[in-house]
Symmetry: D2
Subunit: 304 residues, 4 copies
Amino acid sequence: LNAAAQGVFIISVTPFTEDGSLDLDGVGRLMDFYLSHGVSGVTILGMMGEAPKLGAGESRAFVEGVCRHLDGRIPVVVGVSSPGFAAMKELADFSMGAGAAGVMVAPPGTVRTDSQILDYFQSTADALGETPFVLQDFPLVTNVQIAPSVIGEIVRRIETCVMLKHEDWPGLNKITALREAERAGGRRISILGGNGGIFLPEELRRGADGAMTGYAYPEMLVEVCRLQSGGDADAADDLFEAHLPLVRYEQQPGVGLAVRKHVLARRGAISSNSQRKPGRSLSPAEIGEVERIIARLDRRLEQL
Amino acid sequence: LNAAAQGVFIISVTPFTEDGSLDLDGVGRLMDFYLSHGVSGVTILGMMGEAPKLGAGESRAFVEGVCRHLDGRIPVVVGVSSPGFAAMKELADFSMGAGAAGVMVAPPGTVRTDSQILDYFQSTADALGETPFVLQDFPLVTNVQIAPSVIGEIVRRIETCVMLKHEDWPGLNKITALREAERAGGRRISILGGNGGIFLPEELRRGADGAMTGYAYPEMLVEVCRLQSGGDADAADDLFEAHLPLVRYEQQPGVGLAVRKHVLARRGAISSNSQRKPGRSLSPAEIGEVERIIARLDRRLEQL
Amino acid sequence: LNAAAQGVFIISVTPFTEDGSLDLDGVGRLMDFYLSHGVSGVTILGMMGEAPKLGAGESRAFVEGVCRHLDGRIPVVVGVSSPGFAAMKELADFSMGAGAAGVMVAPPGTVRTDSQILDYFQSTADALGETPFVLQDFPLVTNVQIAPSVIGEIVRRIETCVMLKHEDWPGLNKITALREAERAGGRRISILGGNGGIFLPEELRRGADGAMTGYAYPEMLVEVCRLQSGGDADAADDLFEAHLPLVRYEQQPGVGLAVRKHVLARRGAISSNSQRKPGRSLSPAEIGEVERIIARLDRRLEQL
Amino acid sequence: LNAAAQGVFIISVTPFTEDGSLDLDGVGRLMDFYLSHGVSGVTILGMMGEAPKLGAGESRAFVEGVCRHLDGRIPVVVGVSSPGFAAMKELADFSMGAGAAGVMVAPPGTVRTDSQILDYFQSTADALGETPFVLQDFPLVTNVQIAPSVIGEIVRRIETCVMLKHEDWPGLNKITALREAERAGGRRISILGGNGGIFLPEELRRGADGAMTGYAYPEMLVEVCRLQSGGDADAADDLFEAHLPLVRYEQQPGVGLAVRKHVLARRGAISSNSQRKPGRSLSPAEIGEVERIIARLDRRLEQL
């Protein structure tokens, strides 16, 4: 993983069987699904990957399964955020040994001021050693507001910070500020947009290099990136807007992951939509709404 | 205001002149704009109405100006949430005297358990006397999670609670639960959806009676409600989806109000897009994005 | 008010009659109580002063009543924190006109990064003009973490910031850091400790100039400051520790103000312990606990 | 572990060596220290036990080490709070197998309404099977407010909930409400106070059965419980108040654990005061303050 990364790093779900056990047998099918839709990388054990609900042994088994199946065809990023640096380092080292390309770290809610944030990522880098890492900037969940100048300073100080998973909301001006700072002499890092892709066209036009999110139609994310980088903003917007009703529906906190797993199961990417407890599945009314949205999406795609 | 209210109660912005003073002269123009687009009611001094930035005298002057201009043509609801019941009652009594139809109250973040919430709204009702009120359920901002059973109990106990401004997110199942509870014997109240309208079609189909939100194209909200209540769900969705890119863009916290005021000023509803300090205006890049979205919206509306 | 202020600025309660109306007749008695116990200043309309529950007219009447009664004998500081700078400026200007010596401002929870905090206080200073102000640093309530370096920068940039009401918790190292920065060349401001005085001896020894808090026995705060500044740390600690059980009991969120008003009413400083709604009074069990603590305090004071 | 438990269940620190590795060799010494001071039980892997910073293997090794050394002399409670029920059950089952007497569970911040809380603990009980558990009620950290009626309902429904670790703040009236509800016909459970013991005398007099907290002088907690249960409230208060300055100093968030480990190391209970990263140690000024407080404590104990 390096600062030149671009395209779509899909945030992978973690597949479980109906009884809640980790579905290691399903890893290949899920990765093949993502590969077949053109993603440039895959990120596992992220927030939408139910990582905190896995035991340490399960996390390792999943990392191993994914890396073995992908076998270097595309880079694997592993979420390693942890309350302690020892556990973070342990999972990071294991992952790199298993073939991962890098790791991702979100700050804990206890770091608040600029210097606390800087110190935290310095300690992170010290713990991770040479392992390249993605800084996950997701204030809505972490409750940590990172100023663009602080991201700039982290990038300046820490060579191994190679990518920003950008999901501040609102954050479009942050992308602009970061790119302007780079033009003024900073090191350039990769910026991938998150938030389910709900601002993807604007993010790309502000200077993002792609997306790192888990929308259940990865081909939309891939194609919007391709069209936009080819200069066809209108075609990118046309495709994006066709999907926007579902992207929006997936944004609902709590419901979102159930929607995503429902659609992925429906598309054959996973064998079961089940989440490990505590989790939820869709109510009949919700399933009806998702099906309606998908039917309209299909019709609209035909018209494009 | 009563429990049979339906349609669109537009959340009005508060107009300021460029120097930040309350634009009382502009009240008539703004209300005429809303009226001309078919709204059924208007809600002032809500969260997107910059209410906390007004002095008490200004709040009264604005209430008076709005009520005088509308002169009973459509009902006026006044946001009166306050840390103290004395101030809440004061503004509510003044508003009703000036011709308002009812008031709106959101709970403070300090009430948390079911019984604390019940007690809070009982005290609210005691303070308000006979004034009908809207319960604003907006956990993302208030940090108060109100269970459907608690809303049901409030409705059962408190006759003057006539409407729910629903902006839990996710909250579609909450609407369904409330309507089911009513069918099981409860009193029916009006439910209007908020959140900028981003789930409006689904909310209506779950049983909402309309919308109480402030999207800068009120005619979309009005028409979607009309189409859906007439049974034409596809036409409702077609119109909604044409606007969805802008609805989404307006959802950005902080940026949202600047977008809304920008569009309203562009449409001639207000003379200035200025917010009272602390506030913000749009950056050039943001203006470009909004203009692009509007241009695409216009083209798409032509095709409908 | 200037940066040389020291001693005890008592956080005044706001007196209400049993029916919840502002007890303007009781202002003189309350101020005389504080004066008689040797306070160096008085701070009104603070968080423990139920300020948000007052109407704008009431706030002004209270400010006027306090300033008129004190008549310049000791400086009056007025809490003017507000969601909008217009209202903040309005109350500040009124207060200075009425004879106040300065105002106090806490940041809103929406400012988070170092530069947002700096910008907020710059805007505050711009709004306040020449009025000297106290920066209230109270993260537990405001949810804003201000780094010592940011306080230093505010002091450097803004001449009218003359005092810090310090109630970070833990914050002893912050006092030390601020004093060290001053020794390295910064402007010295007054630092007064808050938090009900529960770390007063340590705060003074770290470099605080006194206390700005509202413990119901102001004479303890005054005497601890006097003893400590006279070098008699052991006597200061002896007195402090005699009061510590009550200081601790007053620390309970929600209960604290009821305890304070109970004790002040018991001591004749206010005619009623009532809080304006929403508020609470002490349960019989709580009254029993407070009375037991006071009885033990009295015995212990006799032994000193 | 059953509902008749009383006395002091000490919250054990987790010992680390200077280099941050788990100090399994030091487990015996630490447990002997606690035993020698008369505790009735020990709780490990609690919030002040740095549990989230341990890997799964380390947690098990520590549980095993503690249980083996204590060998049934006093009951061991293991903190098993987890984002997922699978991991919770895994650690609980392991602990019970290793000889623990029960486990402790705090709710995640995502459960908010009464019924969400009830559901969460029902799911907890389902996951834990026959293992008795302690409900940890600590709103300041968990951000979950549990009404007394909800605790009552949990106790009524769930036989395996045998103890409440009470650290609501303020929570004295909650103890009273729970005991009153029991007298009205509910099942009685054990209530042990937390919060570092800062309200221990009042908690006991309200009906608590003891304390579950980790103050560095366990003998104070034990003796206060003994004196109070023997009816000697004044002696209990005298001893408590002698320790109160240090109890208070330990209450500082973040600093508290460093103080506790400093004192425990000073007393020979652990070989190193080090915390696993991220953690902190005491500054020289803090060490000076702690030493001063201890010197005064020693003098005061001589006078009792």
